[in-house]
Subunit: 367 residues, 5 copies
């Protein structure tokens, strides 16, 4: 009847189980404060400078080395991993990117958006990753700046991105991307970012299935905590996917000279995907609601089952207690008390009544 040690412990790590820290991360969004991000010691810069026939791939020691690609006759993809104020501002200044955009690149927790300022098209959105250990959706902000002959991408984290398939395709001579203008490069990057959303959703989907199985098997506090965690991750997901719809739609409707008519249908393709990602995240939400209902129903059913059996057992034994009490009274004259079979008659009645009750209860479908 004593709580086992692990039960006490359970109460200690409950807030952890319910992910209240995660709530903090999700709610502490303040796009207006600049200084939060810890600047990396150095930024890693890669440049792909290509045309149909040839490609130059270089890692730059200093981000400012990319300045000389500005007037290249070929298309350049300049990718900067690690956001340092000094680099970003230098590059933006050199490439004639408005200072407000430089601010946006350096800001944190921005809502995905798209902007056309002074001959440059700017996209800010987040790459999503699924952290298998913490079971959380992680975000990495990425800024894409499209100019006439370049795309500059600014990432927060050098250790990962979603562009490897693109790097692979770039190296293939005469691949479609090598034959197209810079806006196609932008499309290719958006496409990879959005496609990666589906991978993240797939992982979340697996979690949902696992939690659903757990809820079905045993609806306990742990599964409640998991449902709660998943609901939070779905908020993160929705927050990152919904505005990207507007972003891609903004590109499609844009009349910028940077965007080729031939490329529009590719952006429409991305748009189809982001719409579908959004629909899917709605489906996730629906399934989560179903699951929560299921959880509550299961907890109730289980509790009801226990309470019912307890009540029935207590109830079945009550008549026996009464009969025992009757023949335990100290009256001088109690019938059957001196009868040879009196005891057995009493005990039989003690048995017969509950049995009759069981039958009566069963007939009403009570257990």
């Amino acid at each position: 009847m004593n709580l086992k040690p692990e039960k006490y412990l359970r109460y200690l790590y409950l807030p952890n189980l319910f992910g209240t820290d995660r709530t903090k991360e999700i709610l502490h969004v303040n796009p207006t404060v600049m200084a939060e991000r810890i600047e990396p010691d150095e930024a890693v810069t890669f440049v792909y400078n290509y045309d149909v026939d040839s490609i130059e791939e270089r890692q730059l020691k200093n981000p400012t080395e990319c300045f000389r690609y500005k007037d290249s006759s070929r298309i350049s993809w300049i990718n900067i991993d690690g956001l340092r104020k000094v680099d970003v501002e230098a590059i933006c200044a050199h490439y004639n990117v408005h200072s407000l955009i430089a601010e946006d690149i350096l800001s944190m927790n921005q809502r995905p958006k798209m902007d056309e300022v002074e001959g440059v098209l700017y996209c800010l959105l987040n790459m999503l990753y699924y952290n298998e250990q913490k079971k959380t959706v992680e975000i990495e902000q990425i800024s894409l700046v499209l100019g006439t002959n370049f795309v500059i991408s600014f990432q927060e984290d050098a250790s990962r991105d979603v562009f490897n398939p693109l790097r692979h395709k770039l190296k293939i001579n005469r691949s479609q991307i090598r034959q197209r203008s810079a806006d196609y490069l932008l499309y290719a990057m958006l496409d990879l970012i959005v496609d990666n959303y589906f991978l993240v959703m797939e992982k979340l989907g697996e979690q949902i299935e696992l939690v659903e199985e757990e809820v079905v098997r045993s609806s306990n506090k742990r599964s409640l905590a998991k449902i709660n965690q998943l609901r939070k991750e779905l908020i993160v997901l929705k927050r990152n996917i919904a505005p990207v719809r507007d972003l891609v739609n903004g590109i499609i409707r844009s009349e910028s000279e940077l965007l080729n008519d031939r490329t529009t249908k590719y952006f429409k393709d991305v748009y189809d995907h982001i719409i579908q990602a959004h629909d899917l995240s709605e489906n996730y939400r629906d399934i989560m609601v179903s699951m929560q209902d299921l959880y509550i129903n299961n907890v109730n059913l289980k509790m009801n089952e226990v309470m019912k059996v307890m009540a029935i057992v207590t109830c079945l034994l009550a008549p026996a207690t009464v009969i025992g009490g009757i023949f335990g009274m100290n009256f001088d004259k109690i019938p059957y008390l001196h009868n040879q079979y009196g005891f057995w008659i009493a005990v039989s009645i003690m048995l017969v009544i509950p049995i009759w009750m069981i039958f009566a209860f069963r007939k009403r479908g009570w257990f």
Copy 2:
């Protein structure tokens, strides 16, 4: 008081009962991964080449045999069952269909959509079937490509489709379809696909009625599982019907030269139907919500009934226990103990009190 074997087993097949596998199928939507579909060994190709006066119906050994219908002066319906990359790309190349469309045809889990690319109108949507065994809504992706004098349809599965009434009508000389242009053929196909949605919904509707009856009769874990399953199927339904509205609306508003003004009113008819299908699926959802409420209320009512009777029985017997205890005490002087009728008086009190309680409870409407 022991669980019967089937009860233990019940716990084993619970996840199955609640259809967690189905959740996996519904959530694992990733339109961006290409390679999932297992290519069939061969594609079955049928061609109907017709004008008002005559019709040619042929099964082709090789999909590429259909190339020669491109320049036919008559209208061709080329139906390919089974999606093989090599065939689809060859046909698209021959018929001047953009490579992005070829990709869409081969992709899986796409959201229904409509596109006009370079002189061709492309519709991607799903045919729905109701699997009576599994009680699930199955989908088969279908791509329709409308050109000036042809409609090419790509289906996944050779064993079934919804076009038999169309095949029948085509063979009738001077039937309306034989007198019209290719866009009317596209209309006829969309019409059959949408009409089939109603058949699937009818089957789902039957399931909903059955579950409702089950919920009304006996609200148990099994009916909860069925409600849960139906909610998932409604998600599938909604996911497939809602975007088809946009698809058909896109055709109506399109200014493509492929679409005859005279045909518009037919597409409006399809539009009316798909709107109604959508409304109906909303009604289904409303009824499901009602049903779930009903389920919860019924479980509670049933539980309440049981608990109430148990509590009342226990409560009614409690006074008798007390009286038994009183006269079972070993005091030297207890009134009536030596009275001849003492025992009967005590037993009478034991009976009278619960009877009085029953009357008092009934007056309050407690049972």
Copy 3:
């Protein structure tokens, strides 16, 4: 403690009580299947042919007799009760009504809609009746075809419609309707149909009040069933009212030459009414939700009251049982056992403790 016969019976007619049949009727909507309607043996046709000065009212033996009114210089209202394929097609052919409209007239379970096809304006909607016996909303499909000098109305059922006030007004010489063109006749008919919706809603409103009173007085399974039934009828109501908004709006925005500018303000009046009917049906839904919450709260309150009293009674008697047990033990030395007043002391304690408990409980407001 035995279930009375009517209780057993109650379980038998439960599905009936909960109206699962009605669910079938509501869900089995399939506008695409043609052959369901049983054709009546004969169609009843009435014609009103009028101008400002005179009116001719005739019942026709054969629907085709109405052909001759096509070129009448006066306005004709041709009302056909009973939909027979042969009649409908003949009339449509004669009056140059498109074959798609003929199909719609004959179809069932259509969503209300409005169409302009080739010089004719077509409205399809439902007249609603409230069936007092079954407590259901019944629908009768009506098709209205407006031409330059005629309105043809097709009804399903000869036994009832909502047009009697119109017939009355038509017979009044120099009444407004007699001075106006055919579109005013269409307005008058739509107005009567929409006005009748309010009558049906009034009846439903009365049901809602009755059920609310029942829920307040005694929240039992029967009132739950009634709530459930009403929710279904509200679905039927909404399904028939919501699309009529679009229908009337379509007429107002139409630029058809059939519609006189002077008549527009009358259609706006109908529009105001249908909007209000729609708002009202939303109010109904809100009240139903309130009522369902009330039901659940009442069931809980009632159950809580019962359980509380039972628990309290059981609890109050428990100390007496213990005291009885204490003095019933067979120890050699038990204090007060041989005291003259021992028994009375024990019984007093048995009474004092529960009385003290009652006071303590009351102070906490527990009963």
Copy 4:
């Protein structure tokens, strides 16, 4: 244990408590039936005929006396309290107001709306009052007809309106209203009507606070009834406020010559207020939802507290009963039975076990 008289009575006035009559009033909306309103014996007519310099204020014996103001060179406000068919039709006929508007003026339960018909701008809306006794929102329909040099207002009830501040301002020489055209008079009236909505909402807000306090203190059936009543009043509120938004917006967007450009910014001010009233009514709804949740939680908490204590008391006494039973058995050899301290040992155990249980329960935080 007997119900006290007031408890019986309580069950009798329950439907009253829950305001089912009010439901009837709210649901019985039928704008299409004309004859419901009881015509007053006489209509009270007031006329204010003014220009910048002078004002004439008269009470007319007969509404038709107002005819002569039609061609006045000054602005007239004709206010008719009491709707009599004959008066309304006479006035409308004289002032060239369309007969449909006359119908609307006489109708009941109309949705607020605005109409421009033949050189006249017509507004129909409701003045709201809060009935302190019944705690209900009462409505009085008002019709405002704006012509070039007049505003005619038709009210139902002579005993009250919201225009006293306006009457006061009119009498002030050279007040702004005296310097403006008739549309400013219309604005002033709408402004007062909308401002009065806030007063009504304030009263409702006070009710909500009172009910909230009551729910927090003691969540009983009475507070449930009050929540239910308030929800109904909020429906009335929303029904009257939401359409007024469209009404005022309609005036702002109107291009009627009756409306002066200079007055538009005043109507925009009314629009801001009505939007805010609408937002506020949404806030009310949110607070009501919170309160209902609170109610349910409180009822549960209270019930749980009672049941828990009862269950604990019963549970704590159960071991004593068992021990009493053990030593009350009639076996020949029972240890300690003949021991001098046997009784005290048994009683001690009876006390020790519950005390130990209390500690164990407390450690788990159960009470």
Copy 5:
């Protein structure tokens, strides 16, 4: 078993705990009543009069001293802290601001809005502060009037505002703000106001986390009260943020000559932030809903745990009571009564049955 004093007290301060006073504050919104605000004894006026090269900063003794800046060739920011009718009207009159705007400046509880009247652009919105003591969101109304060469800001409270960073920047020679026109000053002020919303939301977010932790650890009445309070603050938040979206959007879409094209992109930046603030407040709401669900589930789980243990203990002891009763009966012949080990056999059975029950219950997973 007695309530401790603090428990009684708890009931006394419950309405306080649940913040019913706060409900009063939130619901008592009436923008139409003028006289509520207590006028301060004096208004504090600060003027910043600047151009690129120089700045003059002065505190004025009398608000009317600011009149002379009207015709300054430099840009003026006139900030009035404390709203006194006489000052506001005098300043508005001097600066040609319409009297309706003067009324709005003096009004209370206005919905944020933006207006262009006669050559002046007017913004009314609220600055939000978080009151750490009361845990409430406080509002201070601010009015911004933009003219060609001035911005006048009217604040309610002299003791605080959010403009300190702006004052700092103004004093920096050749800072961007010093080089721009007056509309940039307006932007800078809106930007600071909106940025401050995020700070307030951050504080609220912290409260939400704290409450979530409390709910997870111990779901009691206090945490319920806190959830309820937070829901009210979220209403305040939403009420102040949502209309600011329209306000900023109105500025962006305005074609006023006061707004420079170059400044538009800055207002777009504010718009991005306010959209994000709105999204975030939606996220807050979602998390609050999750938390309330969690609360209810936790209360139920806790209650269930207690009731289950109580029921199980009671149930486990019931058989022992029966056995005690059986062998306590006074029959002459009871088996084992005279057996030497009879007592021990009986006691063993009393122990064996509950132990067997425990095993049986565990196998079903009941505890």
